[in-house]
Amino acid sequence: MASGNYEEHSVSVGGAKIGYLKSGRGRPLVALHGVEGNLEWLPLYEELAQRFTVYAPTHPGFAGSDRPAWLESFFDLSRFYLWILQELGLARVTLLGHFIGGWLAAEMAVMSPQSVDRLVLLDAAGVRPHKGEITDIFLHGTEGTRRLAFFDVKQVRDYELLFGRKPTPEEREAHAINREAAIRYCWKPYMHDPVLPELLPRLRNIPTLVVWGSEDRIVPVECAEIYHKAIRGSRLEVLDRCGHFPHLERPEELSRVVLELLSD
């Protein structure tokens, strides 16, 4: 999976060591991962690194970053992340996040719009759909969730490398740590903040791209529409024949739409 000349770093924030990957040059872009943790250096990051300084931090409590003992909720996590940006010396950034990373980006943006240059929400959690449901990935378990996550695994270039082999003991341990962290922050209310939709209109001046797999069976595309409607002026891109992981199933198309927004 790893490619490109990224570097591994860490920064101390409130006594916690936060790991992150970094590469590229230009304005800062922070990529926020989903529940699976930091999957090393994605091809999307490599594309973005041609034009941006890309930071890919590991969320506190996920394998690779400490969790301060007081950090328990998604609200805590969002506030703490603004502190992480401060310690990284980043006053204003582009935020790009997938699933809970997208939710995190939206929360940070409504808390501190002045810190966010542009926003990319990729199959993001955070808002409750009116008709459907966000699939309970904890109840479905890892295998059950994986079966739902992709439209067609043949579209995933590194599927075998990522998921098709027996994990090493270290990978198993990292997976258990990541699951525990996700459960800690996202258990109840499950994968959403009831208040977030009321605050999203605050983001009207931030160029925002909402991008979704048309066949996302984890976060229904209805949530993309909720984000799109709530953030005036945002752009909505729905990728056909694509599930919950556009960056794994449709990386080229995703890069194209993301770079279009970021080039404006």
């Binding site: 904890f138 109840l139 479905h140 378990g141 059950g144 341990e173 258990a176 740590i177 699951r179 525990e180 996700a182 459960i183 800690r184 258990w187 109840k188």
Partner: protein, 403 residues
Amino acid sequence: MFIMRFTERPYVAYSEEDVRKSFRGSVRLTFPNTHFDPALGADLYNEYLDEYQFSEEVGFDGLMLNEHHNTPTCMGAAMNLEAAILARITKKPRIVLLGNPLPIFENPIRLAEELAEIDMISRGRLVSGFVRGTGIESWATNTNPVHNRERFEEAHDLIVKTWTTPGPFRWEGKHYQFRVVNPFEKPLQRPYPPIWIPGVGSPETLEWSARHHYPYIYLETDPQVTVQMTELYSKAAAEMNYEPGPQNFGYLWRVHVQDTDEKAFEVGKGFLIGNAGVGRVPMPGDFMAPPGYNSREGSKRILDQYKHSLKPDALYGGVDAAGWDAVVESNRVVVGSPKTVIRKIREGLEVLRPGILGLWTNDGTIGHKDTMRCLELMKDEVIPALHEIGKELELPGPFEKAP
């Protein structure tokens, strides 16, 4: 030795196919309640209460109840209600609740009130056990499993303070906050009803129990592992400057008696589909122990504890578990005539040395009639003999010697 009687109060009117068709093929949590018939439930609750009422006559020192949620394997979803009924319809035996799953209570003060009422109605016969609950209890009540142990400990501290500190007082904890803690009704037993902790040997809970001088009741754990777990408890007790004895330990055992060994062997097979459910279909591991339910360190210690001594062929539940012959052979379940059962239990007591013995007399498909016959035989022969053996082996219970 304190001898108590237990049944999980099962519901078995469903098939293995029903279980396999449920979400993730689980008999607990997601097994559809469309399989439950309240008319049959009404009969069963009343039969189970009749059996407990008769258990007083049999000579049991305690009547043990437990609580689980979203499962046909145990109808005790509101255990304290059954306890309140037993408090009123029996006179002598202790009512032993093993236990209330503390983390799932949003209001532990209400629990303290319920337990105080049971203690008063029973005129001071309540034993108030507390548990963390299985992962199923967390799922069923939407309690975040990562906070399970913290909530267990904080709810415990709050309940004990509620029972021991004159109200009103204020509680500002991490998981619980109350501005006026002042329930008017308090338990009859002073300073508060005995607290016992049942479990399957989580090292952190064993050590916590030892630090509080609470008897730890092993729930039919592997005998060899049980001996190791007792060492853990004893080590933690030594740090508190005391030496635990039989009064600090209990052991729950599946024991079924019939007139002959042959009959008991046949009827006892009903145990196989009790706790594991009809078909003994293995449950998803993350249902029983969701991520974060045990700390990473705790998980490793549990694995270490079991890895040398857990014999898969002696495991009780699950499809990969042993056949009935092997289960009986391993003495994880004791079935037989009174004479056989007394001999086998004696052998176990010599090794495990508990001051509290729980007899899980029936489960699964063991019906009311066979259960009543089992209890009659226990009354005449087994219970008197076990009390004598307890004296002979010097196994004082916690009411004979303070834990």
